[in-house]
Amino acid sequence: MIRRLTITLLPFLLFLLLWQATALLVEQLRMVPFPTPWQTLLRLGRLAAGEPLSDASLYRHVGDSLLRWLTGFGSAAFAGLLYGLAAGMFRRLELATGQMVHLLQLIPGLAWIPIAILVFGIGEPATVFMIAMAAFPPVAMTVLAGVRQLDGTYLRAARMLGAGKRAIFFRVLLPGALPAALSGLRLGMGNSWRVLLAAEMVVGTGTGLGYSIVESRWSLDYTAAFACLVVIALIGVLVEYGLFQPLEKKAGRYYYLEGGPQP
């Protein structure tokens, strides 16, 4: 236990050391102030205590970012799941639209900016649209691949056992695609979170973590920008360890498919 903790924490400590060294070096060589870990932590503490940042509290920024993210990601995840299952069930749909989803995957999230702004104008819907466009393809494609994997084995067995379309969808496709869906959601979540921050920087949303980072840069308040980066990392850690790992563990208990670890 202690050994594992050391192994996990050691790189983190090294990272902090590297950060400190970089800060000192930059200050010495380039004569510009570079926030140290300690300064960042202090600033984060003040922000957490309610100090305003770009005309709003840190909580407001975090809340707004999360809300945008959940709206965009939630709708994309729902659509992606539905599409993946439908395309898995009806081969014609896959033939007609599969290539388009692949193409979507190739377009970087930020490239949607002109389209998002033309369609929705500057503001909330444009950001949400970009987030959704970044999250949809990975969810749709992994779910489809997951369903395809069921073909030939579980689908064959289900049809042989006399299952109709309804039973095949709800009792075979849906639970069978769950492990794939989980990894697709994870990919989509990461994609959309990154796009969200970038979109906030560019679209000018007025609040949000990405917006605050850009604003801090304009006002040369780099410590605040660093504090925001720490918050972003913390949210990532929270989602990973608080949401996905427990979920995957739970799913893994029953869902080891062929080739999974044997008791």
């Binding site: 084995t153 579980y154 042989m160 006399g162 039973a167 009792r171 208990r253 029953y254 498919l257 008791p263």
Partner: protein, 260 residues
């Protein structure tokens, strides 16, 4: 019971896997399809199961053409393909529920058949917790519970260790004795065919898929060490020895996709 009339099957534009095969299988007979890999055994089974359609010719079950898979032709695959998201009991109940049974009935029937294959103590376990042999037992139970007219088995025990394989062969014969079923059993193993079959069809790659049709002397089970058993394996081996070895199949059976 099962009749194939001049059935040919090819995948895509490749060569014929089966060519002009005609065959009649009697009711309540245990038939083994014996032959090297790539000779079209699995294709033949898939045709009867309804997973693939013949390129030409007809497959008939009790005079009716086979169009799609259904519970009257239960298939036991090489891998058990139990649904990993259902308990053992629910796996067996699945097919019964599809036939419109309510919870009480399906549970009772499922338990009865789990008992038959000796898996009742494991009814609440998840398939991942079972050994390969135990999974095949459950796979057999879920098929038998549906009272199929035909039992199609595609090398069901070939992935098991030698001991489990022989135990399951014993069990299979015992079960066939209890509830008479028409069985079509694929194997490339001479001993397995000699132990299980009443009739052995030796298969080879097209053209001329059917190389020999052998009715075995009736009393079963045949003790594996007996003189009679060795005579049968000797006969089957000499049939197989006439076939070319190392067949390059144009498309392995396992790779062909399910036709809808």
């Amino acid at each position: 019971m099962i009749e194939l009339r001049q059935v040919s099957k090819r995948y895509g534009s490749g060569a014929d896997t089966l060519q002009e095969l005609s065959l009649t299988l009697a009711e309540h007979q245990f038939t083994c399809l014996l032959g090297p890999s790539g000779c079209g055994k699995t294709t033949l089974l898939n045709l009867i199961a309804g997973f693939v359609a013949p390129s030409s010719g007809q497959v008939l079950l009790q005079g009716q053409p086979v169009r799609k898979p259904g519970p009257d032709r239960g298939v036991v695959f090489q891998d058990a393909t139990l649904f990993p998201w259902m308990s053992v009991l629910d796996n067996v109940r699945f097919g019964l529920q599809q036939q419109g049974m309510n919870d009480l009935q399906s549970t009772a029937v499922a338990r009865e058949h789990l008992e038959l294959v000796g898996m009742l103590p494991h009814q609440h376990v998840w398939p991942i917790r079972l050994s390969g042999g135990m999974r095949q037992r459950v796979a057999i139970a879920r098929i038998l519970a549906l009272r199929p007219k035909v039992l199609l088995m595609d090398e069901p025990f070939s992935a098991l260790d030698a001991n489990s394989r022989e135990r399951l062969q014993d069990e299979l014969l015992r079960i066939c004795d209890l509830c008479p079923t028409t069985v079509v059993y694929i194997t490339h193993n001479v001993d397995e065919a000699a132990f299980l079959a009443e009739r052995v069809l030796v298969m080879a790659p097209a053209p001329g898929n059917l190389r020999a049709d052998i009715l075995l002397p009736s009393p079963r089970p045949r003790p594996r060490t007996s003189q009679a058993f060795r005579a049968i394996t000797g006969q089957l081996r000499s049939e197989l020895d006439r076939l070319p070895c190392c067949i390059s199949a144009s498309l392995p059976d396992c790779l062909c996709s399910v036709e809808k």
